[in-house]
Amino acid sequence: MSATDRTATPVQGTDDAETPMLRIRDLAVTFRTDDGPVEAVRGIDLDVRRGEVLALVGESGSGKSVTAMAVLSLLPATAKRTGSIELDSRELTSLTEAELNGVRGKEISMVFQEPMTALNPSMRIGDQIAEALLNHGVGTKQEAARRAVELLARVGIPEPERRAAGYAHEMSGGQRQRVVIAIALACEPKLIIADEPTTALDVTVQAEILDLIRELAHSSGTSFLLVTHNMGVVADIADRVAVMYRGEMVEHGTAMQVLREPNADYTKRLLDAVPRLPEGGETVPPAGEPDSTGPGGVALPVPVLSLRESSVTYRKAGKSFTALDQVSIDIAAGEILGLVGESGSGKSTLGKVALGLAPTSGGELRLFGEKLGRGGLRGRAERRLRGRVGAIFQDPGSSLDPRTTVGEAIAEPLVVHRAVRPMSGRDRAARVRELLEAVELPASYASRFPHELSGGQRQRIGLARAIALEPELIIADEPTSALDVSVQAAVLRVLRELQERMDFACLFISHDLAVVHEFSHRVAVMHEGRIVELGATDDVLLRPQHPYSQRLLASVPVPDPVAQRERRVARLAARSAA
């Protein structure tokens, strides 16, 4: 069955004849914190019908994840939930724990937002998937194990058998995210609640996952409640869209309606903020020319970052796996180098290598002309050099110490380099406030702990921390992946302002090609541990040469349902032709 048939008959947003499968009424969630109650969700209504994909979009911190978790009663103990949640007319809020366990995984399953910490670090991947099956008595152990491998294959994990026997820490962010999806798919539930299931995925894999979702919705009648901030994804897959803003539902309707004729102010703002990739051939001037980059991206003498033939090899069970294969890059002062590529292709690894944090098996790293690592700078000089580099890690959750407050985390670089840049405690607090505001967070959040934030909020903390010292080079690993486009726009604007003022260089890793396009001077494309294409932004993104780059660009969803449908058809045609 082709996907086009499906979207040909869009669900009427106002047609309530059909009773919804999931019916949420007046749901409110309040967190008890040491600073008093936090009303995360304030009385929302939501329906998900059989076989439909409902996209829940909204500002970062607006309560999307909380709503999602509320359905399966998985909120932390400090949360208080009121309202009603019905699944096929059965009230879920009054179920006992044992009854709930029958629902969880079996009838409704869930993909959590942050895949890094969502997996048990000491259990094999395969077993974690099989567990979902065995919990509900589906098949024997052997069958479950076989099925786990199948599921891994299904979510596009290469070498699924090897991965099934491996552990979470051996996987890239996107791979983990797909494992979590595989777990959710395991029992073929009626409803899958997926909280930003594709943020860590490159667009090609994302497209495959979306295809998978579409297929499931269509063939098995599985419903999806899809939390996302990617309007392209919404346009691609959603039948209906609900928009949340500060704990309230501001708008809902069919994807067509909401994306093309938004009603609420917030939705309009949101859609305005969506970055778009110009269609092939059309040129958009990049955000300011870097001073030291000549035409064609040839770097001039002293690049701020220079990597020469760096390789990273992981060894496991006797086999070795080359995550990074003889990669060389240079970033000139003030230059922004976008890095895109397949999930698991080694982007984060490259980022870590650039920070001197990965165990390289060869090659050379120079920051600001100084050699780092073996035979390079050490001690204070090395640390001082690092002070000139800001780092944003891919996973916002695990890069924040759970026991330090947001304020302390942001202030940490200031404290670390107080010798270089002396600052009074009061100035520091002021700077923390300033940084929080720069990333669109209220200053009062300084006293919160990371687990009390939403995913996007955590990510912004990481960002604020990275720019605290106004570094000359930023290594940013998917710095906006968890942000809705409105906040993303604001954050990117801050970065750009800063860039104009400070003229820092940046290695910008992202899956969002539109953002990359908007933001970077040059772009590198990675594939299987190698840089397969490197050049000026427009050259690479608009006139890709390498087949992978071409495939990548073809997979980018656009935030317009009609246009996206066309693109999808074209992509699928290309794929079946290949």
């Binding site: 366990n101 969880r104 399953s109 969502a118 000491s122 259990m123 979902a132 058998e161 006797g318 086999k319």
Partner: protein, 335 residues
């Protein structure tokens, strides 16, 4: 087929890593043992610069006898020579003869070590069986009555010196209630000991209670930490019932500190056994070590030190090995 082959490859190559790890650690272990014996040698000399002759021969011994004894046993030679003699002896497996027991050291240790090991292992197993579930229970019921009850109990037990605890057990269970004997099973072999399990109840209880108090605390603490991890939420979202989540996911990740403790417990138990062994008249290694230290029976003392050092090294290797195997992230450290 494929599955089996893959497992084979995995274990084979993993085995090589473990072998390398073991090899390296054994070499380090030998160094540790050498250092320990050297330290003990030096300490003995520091404490008893005249050697053990006086203690061994008794007050009534004449100076000539003492001199003869020192000559015969080499205590008149420089310390380093004595140490090297000792080393060259153990290199060929000779632990010498006891000054006090009228038998070879290896013989004495060989007879006593199994007895202590049996007691120690049984106590350890009993302790683990009780302590791990107890710690988990407390973590799950954190802040509730059950938690407080066990916490208080553990701390009363822990803060009672073991010699007193043992005495209380004897008074209550042996002398008032006459449920179990006040003496550990007598007999020189493990078989004789195991033949009378009733006699083991009190010694095992005395040794195990303290361990239970300790381990359940660590277990509780680690379980509390792990219960708040995100992966627990994922597991619950699969519909895994909470008890299973704990059993399958949390326990394993919470065992880290417990295992770190266990490796260290093996040698420490020899020390702890002194009390138990003397209270229940169970001549084992602990007492052998203690009496030889007090009477200056150097060959036995050094033999015991050697055994304890070996136990420490083995315990430490085992703990690190199990710990590394339990935690895939550190499994890499093995290579």
């Amino acid at each position: 087929m494929v599955e089996a082959a893959r497992t084979a490859v995995r274990t084979a190559s993993g085995g090589a890593g473990i072998l390398r790890f073991l090899g390296r650690r054994l070499v380090q272990g030998v160094i540790v043992i050498l250092i320990v014996t050297l330290i003990v040698f030096a300490l003995l000399h520091l404490a008893m610069p005249q050697g053990p002759a006086q203690g061994i021969l008794g007050m009534q011994a004449t100076q000539e006898q003492i001199d003869a004894f020192n000559r015969a046993n080499g205590f008149d030679r420089p310390l380093w020579q004595q140490y090297f003699t000792f080393l060259s002896q153990i290199a060929v497996g000779d632990l010498g003869d006891s000054f006090k027991l009228n038998r070879p050291v290896a013989d004495a240790i060989g007879q006593r070590l199994p007895k202590t090991l049996v007691l120690a292992l049984i106590s350890m197993v009993v302790a683990l069986i009780v302590a791990i579930p107890m710690g988990i229970y407390q973590a799950v019921r954190r802040g509730k009555t059950g938690d407080y009850v066990f916490t208080t109990m553990n701390f009363i037990i822990y803060s009672t010196p073991s010699f007193f605890l043992g005495l209380v057990l004897v008074i209550v269970f042996a002398q008032w209630l006459h449920l179990v004997p006040a003496l550990a099973p007598q007999g020189d072999t493990v078989a004789q000991v195991l033949a009378k399990p009733a006699g083991l109840v009190l010694p095992v209880a005395t040794a195990a209670l303290g361990i239970i108090a300790t381990i359940s605390r660590y277990m509780r603490s680690a379980t509390i930490d792990n219960l708040s991890e995100d992966y627990v939420r994922t597991a619950r979202a699969k519909g895994t019932p909470m008890p299973v989540v704990i059993r399958r996911h949390v326990v394993r990740n919470s065992l880290t500190p417990v295992i770190a403790m266990l490796g260290y417990y093996l040698p420490v138990m020899f020390g702890g056994m002194i009390v138990v062994e003397s209270l229940f008249n169970y001549p084992g290694m602990g007492l052998l070590f203690w009496t030889s230290a007090q009477t200056g029976d150097y060959p036995v003392l050094l033999g015991c030190v050697l055994v304890i050092a070996v136990a420490t090294v083995v315990g430490s290797i085992l703990a690190d090995l199990v710990q590394a195997l339990l935690n895939p992230r550190t499994r890499g450290e093995l290579a």
